[in-house]
Symmetry: C2
Subunit: 373 residues, 2 copies
């Protein structure tokens, strides 16, 4: 065994709060041209200028042309905070980031950013970092009533998600990334987790596997339930008895993938195939399989769900990993799109989108070995 040596600890200091430094109007050093001034330079009234820039019809095309051109030339841009105050719009979509800091998060966000690039809308990541039920509700409530966002995106919903009821009651538009069974009408975008896992499981059964282990997401979340359902359906269709000892729930980490996989492989007879919840989980499963002196793709088949990350691809694993695949980035982009539709008045009840999931077979899946165990 090698030496375990810690040479340094890093130092994290503390700091004073953001105190009031100077009273009086603060603001940035940058001083913009104001509407009044700009209008005067154009020889127009502020009203006309405002309308011209906002694209209202009461202004002649010739004037609008001139106004927009001059705005660029003189560098006039409306003060966003004044606009927000008077219109009541915030120009931002809220996303709540949990303390756990999921690695999927940035991929989804990046997709959103891609779509919002052309709009004048920001993403507000709200540091509502508390965990757990009650407090979390309070925090969503604060976000919704804070006036900082025009809409909110809810992630990882549960079948009966209080956040949905809450936001609906508060009249805050929101999109659920995932699904819920609440009666409350709500817009959602989800991938077909049930179908994906059903197909993956069926395929494994087709290959002769009978003991198929399933490493699912956190218990209680809708997508975990859907995946569970798909898994059970596939088994039931082929008359295979469901075995609760072959199912586990938890965060998508390599650590849990490893631990769960190991505990499954210790069983006798051991499973001959795994359905893994994420790429990280799959890494753990691969490691566990190897630690038993077994070979993925020959002794043990593995299918994992892949959200398509640029930094970790199924094709590159050894052996290459069979996956159910759906682009999280695309989902992020489309989510942003749907939120914009929501804000432009499309009723939430019309916004339901279920994406099919690809099943891509690679080297990690194969026929069940002749003499298992």
């Amino acid at each position: 065994m090698w030496q375990f040596e810690v040479l340094h600890d890093f130092v994290v200091g503390s700091a004073p709060n953001w105190e009031i430094v100077q009273r009086g109007r603060a603001g940035n050093t940058i001083d913009h041209m104001k509407l009044k001034e700009f209008a005067k330079q154009l020889g127009l009234s502020p009203t006309t200028v405002s309308r011209a820039l906002s694209g209202y019809p009461e202004v002649s095309e010739k004037t609008r042309q001139r106004v927009t051109e001059e705005a660029v030339r003189l560098g006039y841009r409306p003060n966003i905070n004044a606009v927000r105050l008077v219109t009541g719009r915030a120009g931002a979509i809220g996303v709540v980031m949990g303390r756990s800091g999921e690695f999927q998060f940035s991929e989804y966000m990046s997709g959103m950013a891609e779509r919002l690039d052309s709009e004048d809308i920001d993403i507000l990541v709200s540091p509502l970092a508390e965990q757990g039920g009650k407090n979390e509700n309070q925090l969503y409530s604060r976000l919704a009533t804070s006036g900082r966002v025009d809409a909110v995106i809810i992630h990882s919903p549960m079948p009966n998600d209080e956040r949905i009821t809450l936001l609906h009651r508060l009249g805050m538009p929101f999109l659920v990334h995932g699904r819920s069974e609440t009666q409350v009408p709500h817009a959602w975008l989800d991938i077909d987790n049930e179908g994906a896992i059903r197909r993956a499981t069926s395929h494994l059964i087709d290959l002769g596997h009978r003991r198929i282990a399933m490493i699912n997401g956190r218990a209680g979340l809708t997508f975990s339930l859907h995946r569970d359902k798909g898994y059970r359906e596939a088994l039931a269709q082929r008359g295979i008895q469901f075995d609760p000892h072959l199912v586990a729930h938890g965060h998508f980490t390599d650590e849990l993938g490893f631990r769960f996989a190991r505990s499954f492989l210790e069983q006798s007879p051991r499973p001959t195939a795994f359905v893994a919840g994420s790429m990280m989980t799959a890494l753990g499963v691969y490691r566990a399989v190897r630690s038993f002196g077994l070979v993925v793709g020959r002794d043990i088949s593995v299918i994992a769900h892949d959200d398509v990350f640029p930094y970790l691809t199924a094709d590159n694993m050894v052996p290459s990993l069979s996956t159910t695949r759906s682009s999280l980035r695309a989902a992020g982009a489309r989510s942003a799109d749907l939120v914009l539709q929501l804000l432009s008045g499309r009723p939430a009840t019309e916004i339901h989108e279920l994406w099919p999931v690809e099943l891509i077979l690679r080297e990690s899946t194969g026929p069940v070995p002749q003499a298992p165990g």
Copy 2:
């Protein structure tokens, strides 16, 4: 070889822009109590109430007590957009998210969120997604002048980073996560990349390694240069000739880790040790080493830099991975802290923080094998 089968494609529709639906004051369904109303209920003037809530000294403690209590009871909260307009503060810190969507991003953000939880400040992720130099400047400029943020955080700086000059010129407070060599004074928080890699490399040399390959970050970025410097220094100290054929630059993906490592291992004599830029890179390196029928920790030593991710840990790799380690989450939290200090008036020139990096030795590093090549 297994079948490669695509069963479905997902469908991404398009959508109309966020058009003007109804004119007239929009706003949310939620109608808050207003200051005037609230003040009247208390029998006080708006001025006093405002001051009481903002913590100014001109109000008696007794009154302040009453005001804050009643505010909670009656649910009064100042309209944030009115506050923003009048104070000129935005109550948000801006972060620009590149189109590439680094996996490290969410960990850093999560750290920021942790620190900002107690403050009334948001993180604004600006969908300034364009790539490349010129355009990116424009986009930073827009963010800085938009009035949407009070400060900006710059990531992955270059030694002579235009963004720094730009933000300084615009008078927008900012913190550099990383370092730069610009003359422009600026606040920064960085880890000691040079020292970390110097130490890692030295350690490998101590173990007898002479051909040490280095998979670095993207070329031109300050931290890549620092790491390069540390690497070269370590070699120079021991009189080992620097070999440019043993150095590569690129994004931190398993793919590049694999490809670079393979190309190095094809050389003769081949390297006996690797310094890898990130955990993902390390995954690729492990894979490449195995693909040559070699064993990490015996034939080939590997040290990688670890930003401490909850979902992928060095201890769990097989063999466990020796790392230079520094918590990105902690850096995020501290960054938020420093930005708050900056906003409260602490001069940028005083805010320079260099964090030492741990070197943690595990199983992936060992003495150079007797008959290499």
